[in-house]
């Protein structure tokens, strides 16, 4: 099964294109030190707002820092954090969803009430409240995302576990004498994974956008951190003279988000068997038993 999902994924050109961009960016983020020619926070006022040149391919910002280097260092802040956040969200949401789905009764109600509470707050509001207490910083922002976004995963896993419990192969596994652990880990869990993986990939893209968004309004990373949102906010005063300072960080966000969306959609086509377009054909193709 994994084999032919892989094959379907490789055939999906756009997904591969997305994956390629992600890998390139990840590498750039990991080896930022070597690739970027300058220290992203080195202030050099004499060199303020320089146009693009060989040494500063994208020019410098209002503090004379190389924009390209700040973009490269920014990868670590946005992509790595987003992947870390999504991973933690999965660690919280998926097991809770499994417990709610499999045990039902009080556990199910408890988890679902918690999920309802988590989804009563718009993200801006919670960000304001949390950052209001502990002060603006990226780690506090991470707390907000985790509190907010574990609920959809829990609901998704819970509904597929409930559906799976009624399927014949789960009952057959019980009839075949499997232990509860085998039934959960070998039969139920793998079959809840596909939608979770697809949704997680799309969620990484959303986290990246939100990190930049909240940093732009000052709730996330603070200057001089090379966060793309912060760079956008710095560039706001120079909108008429140096639009470049606004254009490049925004483009970086779009590229990363676009790559993850492409990859996510490719995974969706490969992992989740869409209703065969040729349902009628399947009926006819099945004749040579």
């Amino acid at each position: 099964m994994i084999k032919n999902t892989g094959r379907k994924l490789l055939r999906n050109k756009s997904a591969m294109f997305g994956l390629m961009i992600i890998l390139i960016l990840l590498l750039m983020g990991l080896f930022a030190g070597r690739i970027a020619s300058h220290d992203p926070t080195l202030v050099d006022i004499t060199n303020k707002l320089a146009p693009s040149s060989k040494e500063y391919p994208l020019g410098t910002d209002q503090m004379g820092r190389c924009i390209l280097c700040r973009l490269i260092y920014g990868i670590e802040i946005s992509m790595f954090t987003a992947i870390k956040v999504t991973f933690i969200i999965l660690l919280v949401g998926v097991p809770l969803g499994m417990i709610a789905g499999y045990c039902g009764g009080i556990a199910d109600n408890l988890v679902m009430r918690l999920a309802d509470i988590a989804s009563t707050f718009p993200s801006t509001l919670l960000a304001l409240a949390v950052v209001g207490i502990f002060g603006p910083s990226l780690d506090h922002l991470v707390l907000v995302f985790i509190f907010l976004w574990w609920a959809p995963f829990a609901r998704m896993v819970r509904s597929s576990v409930i559906k799976l419990k009624e399927t014949e192969f789960v009952m057959a596994a019980e009839a075949a004498g499997c232990s509860r652990r085998d039934i959960i880990m070998k039969h139920i869990f793998p079959n809840t994974l596909s939608p979770v993986i697809v949704y997680a990939t799309l969620r990484i893209a959303a986290v990246i956008t939100h990190i930049a968004g909240f940093s732009f309004i000052g709730l996330g990373s603070q200057p001089p951190a090379p966060d793309w949102g912060v760079m956008l906010n710095d560039g706001r005063q120079y909108i008429d003279t140096h639009p470049g300072m606004l254009f490049w960080p925004g483009l970086a966000i779009v590229i990363v988000v676009f790559a993850f969306n492409l990859f996510g959609e490719g995974l969706n086509d490969a992992l989740i068997p869409a209703e065969e377009e040729m349902a009628v054909v399947k009926e006819t193709g099945d004749s040579n038993e």
């Binding site: 399927t167 192969f169 057959a172 019980e174 009839a175 004498g177 038993e289």
Partner: protein, 324 residues
């Protein structure tokens, strides 16, 4: 306790779904026994609770009331682990719908699962056992590496049978084992089940809404309607006495144009399918419904030896026979 002659015995078994007050009974106050080496047919329209009853016998679902005895042991209250110890002696053949098999499993993994749970065998012995079983159901070892979505309906059905019979269980529940597949395959599957029974003396509960298949295979036939047992026929060709069974048999379309059934639908036209508050569940659609039928639900009583009927009207059985 139950006498040793019965493989499975059930007393006053009920299963209800839904919240506390308005729960609906899928199975209501059912009592019967299946002797060793017998094929008991269980027939009824879709939604009458036959599959639920089948799953209750194997404790794949928890009963709300009543007792279940398996080969003399009272397994009603067994825990999950206690049930695991005896699961190899009882198995189920499913309808093999779309989600009959775990999509990530190959046929080898599907069939070897019960073997690994109950037999100390190494890979070689397991493969030999599985190949032998596959050949018995008309497939061969080349299917072992395939995934379930690469198989056709008929092949999936046989893998389901192989999985159920590989441990040589004493008791097998076939839940609509033949109804969802092609006409041509139906006979092959019925032949396989019959051969297995002859060779190893299995006991079957054969659930189906297809009267022709049930009549062809079963020793005794139990008729179910809205969760209640209406009648137990001592043998397949026995004369139906309960009005519902008569109506059911009248509705079977004979695949022979010369046998023109006179147009007779033995049902009250307006009756709907909901469970009435009181009395016999069938009275809204029964042609012979009387006052008593509407208020008191009849118990399953033995009219002749082995012929049970749940019907008040049965007091004077002659009148029923005249217009049947």
């Amino acid at each position: 306790m139950s006498d040793s002659g019965n493989m499975v015995e059930v007393k006053g078994l009920s299963k209800a779904y839904g919240q506390r007050r308005q729960e609906k009974y899928a199975v209501y106050n059912v009592s019967f026994a299946i002797c060793k080496g017998e094929i008991l047919g269980l027939v009824g329209e879709s939604g009458c609770g036959k599959s639920t009853l089948g799953r209750l016998l194997l404790r794949l679902e928890r009963p709300t009331k009543g007792e279940i005895y398996f080969d003399g042991q009272d397994i009603t209250g067994y825990s999950f682990t206690e049930m695991r110890k005896i699961r190899d002696r009882m198995q189920m053949i499913f309808q093999s719908s779309a989600n009959a098999f775990n999509p990530y499993y190959t046929v080898r993994q599907i069939i070897s699962e019960p073997v690994m749970n109950y037999r100390k065998t190494d890979a070689g012995e397991r493969d030999a056992l599985m190949t032998e079983m596959l050949e018995k159901v008309g497939l061969d070892s080349s299917y072992l590496n395939r995934y379930s979505h690469e198989l056709s309906g008929g092949q999936r059905q046989r893998v389901g049978i192989a999985r159920a019979l590989i441990l040589g269980p004493d008791f097998v529940v076939c839940d609509e084992a033949v109804s969802s597949i092609d006409f041509v395959l139906k006979k092959q599957i019925l032949k396989i089940l019959a051969e297995q029974k002859k060779k190893n003396g299995f006991t079957y509960l054969f659930i189906s809404h297809d009267m022709a298949a049930v009549k062809a295979v079963c020793d005794r036939i139990m008729v179910m309607y809205l969760g209640n047992i209406m009648e137990i026929l001592p043998e397949a060709e026995a004369k139906a006495l309960h009005p519902y069974t008569q109506a059911l048999l009248a509705a079977v379309l004979e695949p022979d144009p010369n046998v023109k059934r006179e147009k007779k639908i033995l049902f009250k036209e307006s009756g709907e399918l909901a469970i009435p508050e009181a009395g016999c569940v069938f009275w809204p659609r029964c042609l012979y419904a009387t006052e008593t039928c509407m208020h008191r639900s009849p118990e399953l009583r033995e009219i002749y030896d082995g012929h049970f009927v749940a019907c008040h009207y049965m007091k004077n059985k002659r009148t029923l026979e005249e217009n049947a």
